[in-house]
């Protein structure tokens, strides 16, 4: 009984503490299910740009983390052409908290506590999501949003990406 109480209060504490620790910026990215003889999961990059197209922060890069007999997963980072030119080529991969394996079709979220963006001045930005697929196409979806105050914005891709939404909770 005592244990149960403890467990309950721990859960309650987590629930209360939730908002403070939880994400202050959440990006939801939908990878559509595509049919085809040789489907490979797309490479995806998520980054923040200023309205004048200057990249300020890469939040996520999903790519093949290992080498196989065709080469190293990093060999194809350049196929995310826009991200590569605007920021990727100046970064070193893998990057802590940013890079991870490719994702299956479905909804995926990238969440950040505000603390990780504390040097980002409040203002208008664009969340950019780019997907590039082996033997497939490439698509960039741009979602304008505001940093510094709760707001939600969304856009939808048409080929390589589905719905993309950005939620700022503070």
């Amino acid at each position: 009984m005592r244990k149960l109480t403890l467990a309950l209060s721990a859960t309650a504490a987590a629930a209360v503490a939730g908002p403070a620790l939880a994400a202050d910026l959440t990006v939801s990215v939908e990878i559509p299910r595509l049919s085809g003889a040789s489907y490979h999961r797309p490479y995806v990059a998520v980054w923040i740009e200023r309205p004048d197209n200057i990249a300020v922060r890469t939040l996520a890069v999903w790519y093949q983390q290992t080498a196989n007999n065709e080469g190293d997963g990093k060999d194809w980072l350049k196929d995310m052409r826009t991200w590569w030119r605007r920021g990727g080529r100046a970064m070193t991969m893998p990057a802590d908290g940013i890079s991870s394996a490719t994702k299956a079709p479905g909804r995926h979220t990238v969440s950040l506590p505000g603390a990780r963006l504390r040097d980002l001045p409040a203002g208008q930005y664009v969340m950019v999501v780019e997907a590039a697929r082996e033997l497939g196409g490439r698509e960039v979806v741009r979602v304008p949003f505001r940093w510094g105050g709760a707001n939600t914005a969304r856009a939808t891709g048409s080929t390589e990406l589905g719905a993309v939404s950005v939620t700022v909770t503070r």
């Binding site: 003889a37 040789s38 007999n69 065709e70 082996e134 033997l135 497939g136 196409g137 490439r138 698509e139 080929t159």
Partner: protein, 270 residues
Amino acid sequence: MKKSIARTLAIGAALAALAAPLTAQAHRAWLAPTATVLSGSDAWVGFDAGMSNGVFIPDHAAMNLAGLVITAPDGSTAAPENMMRARYRSSFDLHLTQAGTWRVANVMSGVVVSYKENGEQKRWRGTEAEMAAAIPAGATDVSATRSDSRIETFVTLGAPSTTALAPTGKGIELVPVTHPNDLVAGEAATFKLVRDGQPAADLDVTIARGGTRYRDNPEEMTVKTGADGSFTVTWPEAGMYWMNASVRTPAEGTQMAASAQYNGVVEVLP
């Protein structure tokens, strides 16, 4: 351990070079000319041959051109010049000394046998004649597949002709209804696929245009061959196009399993 991995990779690479078209995940094999329509009393054409995801983008492997057969407009066999093998592409030149259409093809055939010996999975590749001697008597789970691969393109000096295009009766081949060096954007072209000389019905033909690096959509097309093996494609725009078809038939009675693959490159002019 490291050594055995290296050896496995080396064997794998060698097999891949020979048998590239056999695996579903294989990279695309292409033999691309620098020009297809030429005039004058003689002319030179260069060719690049490689295997990669993006057709005509040499970024994966050079092609082994051991099976290169060049047929001159009069049906005789011609030799390539300036052959070289670079990291990601093999290249050669052809001196067109006769008017008419030349067929340039890399043709490979053989047998792939997978079997178990003392519980160990093994693979052998060679000719059908060598097969009996090469497979140990104690082999179990023996599975043999005959494979025929044709990777080709066509170039024409002067007016197109068809002597060099006569099918050999082996593997998948393209029989022109529309001449493969007479293709124009916006117009329909019809070709017939034959397998071992017989109409190849119901095959999926993948058609991909080069230049994917400069656009976001691959813009591939797939068409099916009819009962007579023919298919028709209307070229959406000018460019170098890659056409692919493959087929597998399971073993039946004493007949071993067979696979055949066709890769053709044609140029469509504006």
